[in-house]
Every structure is written in structure tokens, then in C-alpha cells.
């Protein structure tokens, strides 16, 4: 729930918090949710960096808007 928007929105704390409050789970669930959100953002950032290296800076302009 939080990790898909986390792929393109640079707000890991908000998205982790959003996922936790909407499903009403306790603070112990924070760790896996935060890890999923951060992983998704890092993997996407790495993929965008690779695309940029391969195709030039114009490729970044074609990424989906957050």
C-alpha cells in the first residue's frame, strides 16, 4: 500500500505512517512497512539512474509524475 507510491514519491515517513494508520496496526509493524517503502524508492532511483546513464538526461523527463 505504501511501497507503490513510495517508488516515485520521496516521502518515506509519510507513506509508512499512512500505511500504518489506515490498516490500524501497531508500532511493531513499522519496520517491514518502512523497509518495503524505502526498498521500492531505492530500486526505482537506481533504475532511473541506470536509464539516465544509458540514454542521457532526457530519459529522466519521461518518468511518471509523482
Amino acid at each position: 500500500m505504501g511501497s507503490v507510491p513510495g517508488a516515485v514519491i520521496s516521502a518515506p515517513i509519510s507513506l509508512t505512517f499512512l500505511a500504518i494508520i489506515t490498516v490500524g496496526l501497531g508500532p511493531r509493524t513499522t519496520a517491514p512497512i518502512a523497509v518495503a517503502v524505502i526498498t521500492s524508492h531505492l530500486v526505482t532511483a537506481a533504475a532511473r539512474w541506470l536509464v539516465q546513464q544509458h540514454r542521457g538526461p532526457a530519459a529522466l523527463q519521461q518518468s511518471p509524475p509523482g
Partner: protein, 352 residues
């Protein structure tokens, strides 16, 4: 630490509550108005495939033409920044904001597959920007007033003052040394925005999606890494579909023809897969509640349909936010992972 020696900041501290109140009220009116209209037109969420009404197709097609006409009339640029990009820039043009809000409302009522976050950010931000422009030309003043308005709007929408404030402060271009100074008026505005929503609606987002009990184990961290990677892959698929849809839009050429076609495609997807309608908040509740009744293949179809509907909506002139639709995509993807068999608990659920 706080710039209390500056008149604009002292005034902002005083006005933050008012900004939160008005931004929260605008947000509530927008959510209530568009929510009531879509409920009236489309009714309760429907689960089964092919259970939508076929007249939704001409309705959304008309919506596509209407937003194209409005964009031309009000000279809206081809590229409108998303709500998140607007927060990241910290700038809202209060002169153009009403026209963008009107188009976003038409988009929501004709059920473009987009959410309300854009409108809430623009409404609150425009209010703050307008207030700052009346008295101060200072860049810091304009930024802080605009962000405070945004936090007020999001505090009500997310029904959480902390969440509304965090969303703005995490994304906004606030210099590190001014972080606390910017945070305080935002927290005040978001709290008032939330208080207004809670006083009127009497509910919050807390626990709106009912999931089974959960007990944490260390190996769940590994599962989280895999799920995070899958989420990134889903957004990669979305980016590719968006590129393909934009390519088709270029081939079609005429913005009216593409508005009509794009609207019809969104309506067709909704008629075939009604769970792809609108922002997705209510629909995600249905997906989670009825997950044992919905086949995995239907969930996968809804997931792909929603991604396609979002891409077409974004490229065919509709205006709206991406946050709630992306949450729907993420929640549905999570439900797909947990649904291979209703009798088999999800891997991260405790086994007793």
C-alpha cells in the same frame, strides 16, 4: 531559531489556524461535492467483471471532451504539475488555481482514474500564496505561507495532522536551517484542518482498511525487501504504459479527439472492471474486505486496468492526484500476493 523578529513570520503564526480552517473547509467541500456526485452517478463499488453500466463510456468520453474544452478556454498548459511536484516546487499560482480546481472537479465527477490530493494541495497552496502576495514579496514568506496552506488542506484529507505536515515537509524545498520554523505553522494549520474534518465528518482514516491480526518476525524484513522491489517493478510497468499511451496520443493528434477517446477508454475499463473507478479509496476497502470472494485473476485484471486507466487519464487532459490511485494499486497488489488461496494465511501473518 524561529524568525520571530520578522513581521511576516509572526503574522503567519497568527494566520496559520485561519489558513488551516479555510484550506480544510475548501478540502472538505471538494471531497464532499465530488464524492456525492460520483456516488450519485456510479453508486456503490461493484466487484464482478462486466458489472459496470455501458452508459459510463459516453459519460467519461464527454468528461474528456469537457476537460479539453475547459483547458483550451482557460489556456491551461499541456503539462500540469502533479500535487507532489507542486509541493516539491513550493509554488502555486493563485490566479490559475481556481481554473485548475474546476477542471479537477470535472475530472473527478466524470470518474477519471485520479484522486483528490492534487486539488487539496492546490487549494491550500493557492490560499497561502494569495495571502503572502497581498503583503510580502519575500521568497521565504511566500514559500512558508504556501506550504502552510497545503498542510492545512492535507491535514483534513489525510485525517491526521502529523501526516499532513510530514507529507509537506518531506517533499517541500525547505532549507535545513529553516526546517523547524516552517514546521510550526504547518503543524498548526494541519491540526486545525484535521479538527474541522473530524468535527464535521466524525471519523478518521485510522483502521479504515481491516486487515487480520499481525505479529512481527525478523524474516518479514526479507519479505518487505521483496515486496518493495515488486512495487518498484509495478511503477516501472506504469511508466512504460504511460509512455505508450502518450505515444498513441501523439498519433491521434487532435486534443479533442484524444480527450474523447481517452475518456471513452477510461469508461470502458470502468464498465468492464468497476473497481478501477475513481480515486480508489472506497474501492480498496472493498478489495480488502471481499478479498476472499475475488479471484486472483480478477484482482490482477483490476491492477492492470487501474494502471492503464491512470495512464490514460493523465495523458488525455484530466487533472487529478496520483497518491490515492497509487495506494489502491499498492493495496491491490498486496491483496494479490496474499490471495493464492483464502485458506492459506499470508506469509507474514502469524501461524498459530
Amino acid at each position: 531559531m524561529l524568525p520571530l523578529d520578522q513581521a511576516w513570520y509572526r503574522r503567519l503564526i497568527g494566520l496559520a489556524a485561519l489558513l488551516g480552517l479555510v484550506a480544510g473547509l475548501l478540502g472538505m467541500l471538494y471531497l464532499a461535492g465530488t464524492g456525492a456526485a460520483t456516488d450519485l452517478v456510479f453508486g456503490d463499488p461493484r466487484i464482478s467483471a462486466w458489472s459496470g453500466d455501458w452508459w459510463w463510456i459516453p459519460l467519461t468520453a464527454i468528461g474528456g471532451v469537457a476537460v479539453t474544452a475547459l483547458r483550451r478556454r482557460w489556456r491551461v498548459p499541456a503539462r500540469v504539475p502533479s500535487g507532489v511536484e507542486t509541493i516539491e516546487s513550493g509554488r502555486v499560482d493563485h490566479a490559475t488555481a481556481p481554473s485548475w480546481l474546476a477542471i479537477a472537479a470535472v475530472s473527478a465527477v466524470t470518474s477519471a482514474s485520479l484522486g483528490p490530493s492534487f486539488s487539496l494541495v492546490i487549494a491550500g497552496g493557492a490560499l497561502g500564496s494569495w495571502l503572502a502576495a497581498r503583503r510580502w514579496i519575500d521568497d521565504e514568506a511566500r514559500l512558508d505561507y504556501t506550504l502552510t496552506g497545503m498542510a492545512g488542506g492535507l491535514g483534513g484529507a489525510f485525517t491526521s495532522p502529523i501526516l499532513g505536515m510530514f507529507m509537506v515537509t518531506e517533499l517541500a524545498p525547505i532549507p535545513r536551517q529553516r526546517y523547524l520554523a516552517a514546521l510550526i505553522p504547518q503543524l498548526i494549520a494541519a491540526t486545525i484542518g484535521f479538527g474541522l474534518y473530524y468535527a464535521i465528518a466524525g471519523r478518521t482514516f485510522l483502521g479504515i482498511y481491516g486487515l487480520p491480526p499481525y505479529e512481527f518476525s525478523l524474516w518479514h524484513i526479507g519479505v518487505a525487501v521483496i515486496l518493495g522491489s515488486v512495487a518498484s517493478l509495478i511503477m516501472g510497468v506504469f511508466a512504460l504504459i504511460l509512455l505508450a499511451v502518450r505515444f498513441v496520443a501523439v498519433l491521434v493528434g487532435s486534443d479533442y479527439a484524444w480527450g474523447l477517446t481517452g475518456g471513452a477508454i477510461v469508461g470502458l475499463i470502468a464498465a468492464v472492471l468497476p473497481l478501477t473507478l475513481g480515486a480508489g479509496s472506497v474501492q480498496l476497502d472493498t478489495v480488502i474486505d471481499e478479498s476472499t470472494e475475488i479471484s486472483v485473476w480478477l484482482l490482477v485484471a483490476v491492477l492492470l486496468g487501474k494502471i492503464l486507466a491512470m495512464a490514460v487519464s493523465l495523458s488525455s487532459g484530466f487533472i487529478g492526484g496520483n497518491v490515492f490511485p497509487m495506494i489502491f494499486v499498492g493495496g491491490t497488489a498486496g491483496t494479490v500476493v496474499t490471495s493464492p488461496s483464502p485458506t492459506c494465511p499470508p506469509p507474514w501473518q502469524s501461524r498459530r
